[in-house]
Structure formats: C-alpha cells, structure tokens
Subunit: 133 residues, 2 copies
C-alpha cells in the first residue's frame, strides 16, 4: 500500500500527536483491541500492511506481535467522519489479540446485577506467549 | 440494569476523567462510532440501557440521539483488559449512527494508491435529521 503523505495529511491528530485506533477482526467483526497511533505508526501500518501502534506507556512504536508473534495483517484501513479515529480491519495471526492470551481485549461483560464477568477464555498462557524464545 | 457504583470503581479513567467508548452494532458487528464517556455517562448508559456519552467539544453529557432520534439501545457493555476502554454492543435505532447520515462513522476507506474514498452511502440528509421538529 502506498504510504504517500497526502492521505496522512487528512488525518487529525490530538495535541499529543496521537489518535485512537480500533482493531476489528475482518472476518468475524469482533472488536479485538484498542490502541493509539502517531503519524509514523499509521504510515508504517499502511506501508507494511501490519498494525503498528504507539505505546504511550513505553513511549515508542509498537509493532503489534513483535514479542508474541500475534501480528495483525491489515486488510483495510478506515477513518471516521471527523478524521480523528482509525479503524483497522485485520486478520489476527494466532487468533489472540490480548496480552492476557484471549482472542479479544474486551472480555469483561457487565452483568445485570452490576458486576463484570470474564466471558472469554484464555487460549494461551501469557507466560508462554511472552517467554524468551 | 443496576448502576451500583462497585463496577464503576473498576473502570480506569484518564487524567480528564474520561475513557474511550466504541459502539458496535450488536447484530452485524459493524463498528458504528467512537466517543468518550465520563463516569456519569457510563453510569447513565447502564441505568437507561441507552448510550450516553460525554461531548468533549460541548463539555456536557450527550444522550446519543437526543436531537436526531438515532438513539442506541445497549445490549451489552464490555470493558477491555486494562479497564480503560468501553465497548457497547448496541441496536442502532434508525440505522444511522453518523451525523453525516451514514450508518457508520467509519466510511472513509484507504485505497491502495493512498487516497481516502467514501465507501458508505448517505442514508438521510443531515439537514433533515437535525431540522427543528
């Protein structure tokens, strides 16, 4: 995918140079995770066809899956009406997007009585995902 | 749905007391929009079963659909692994989530040659959506 800068100039960044990014499974529609991107992350995502985010805690580019192998192959990049939110439609390699070893990060469901329940199974022990190779 | 405060205490707010909220069509999986919530917005969303956001530009609670009639009936509230992002699975009344009159706000698609194309049709003229009743 061409990462020429013209399309990047139509994207609206916040005062920290970031914007929210949502990753959605391109086949199932499942919302997998939420992260942030700066301009370079978005440019790299388009160029490589793999999701690259900006880690606010580590203050560096984060090629999703760089440690876990759970990269996200980008099928489609969408932008919202205001140009300040990105939606990636991805193929989630390994079927695990969450660092807890679950398919999706959105595994807490609010039950009627006002409690959060974990409704998605852990598919792989995080200790195994992140153990030194 | 019970809006007791215990579950709200497990939610992690940013330094402005806000967190990102994603609305997804509960039937189709389509990502409809992205907005922000403060604690009161999330409590009201759970209590009423309709999406209430915090408008950062207007600095007030925003009962989605209050002007347009395009309210979002909340089928499910999800929270991510870090407790700092909310996902609403909703029934989109009127089938229009976007203020541009489109089904979803994510109607710009990045094409291979590096241009954004509008790939979702306008279902209703915004002038009609927001005209005085």
């Amino acid at each position: 995918m061409n990462a020429g800068t013209r399309w990047l100039n139509e994207v609206v960044w916040d005062e920290q140079g970031l914007l929210p990014a949502i990753a959605q499974d391109a086949d199932t529609g499942e919302v997998l995770m939420f992260a942030w991107m700066n301009r370079e992350a978005l440019a790299l995502t388009a160029e490589r066809g793999e999701a690259v985010y900006w880690s606010r805690s580590r203050r560096k580019l984060w090629h999703k899956g760089e440690e876990s192998g759970h990269i996200q192959k980008v099928r489609e990049i969408r932008m919202d009406c205001d140009g300040d939110v990105i939606l990636l439609r991805v193929e989630q390699v390994g079927g695990i997007a969450c660092h807890t070893g679950r398919r999706s990060c959105f595994f807490h469901k609010l039950l009627g009585e006002g409690t959060w329940e974990e409704v998605e199974p852990v598919l792989k022990d995080p200790a195994q995902i992140y153990s030194p190779k």
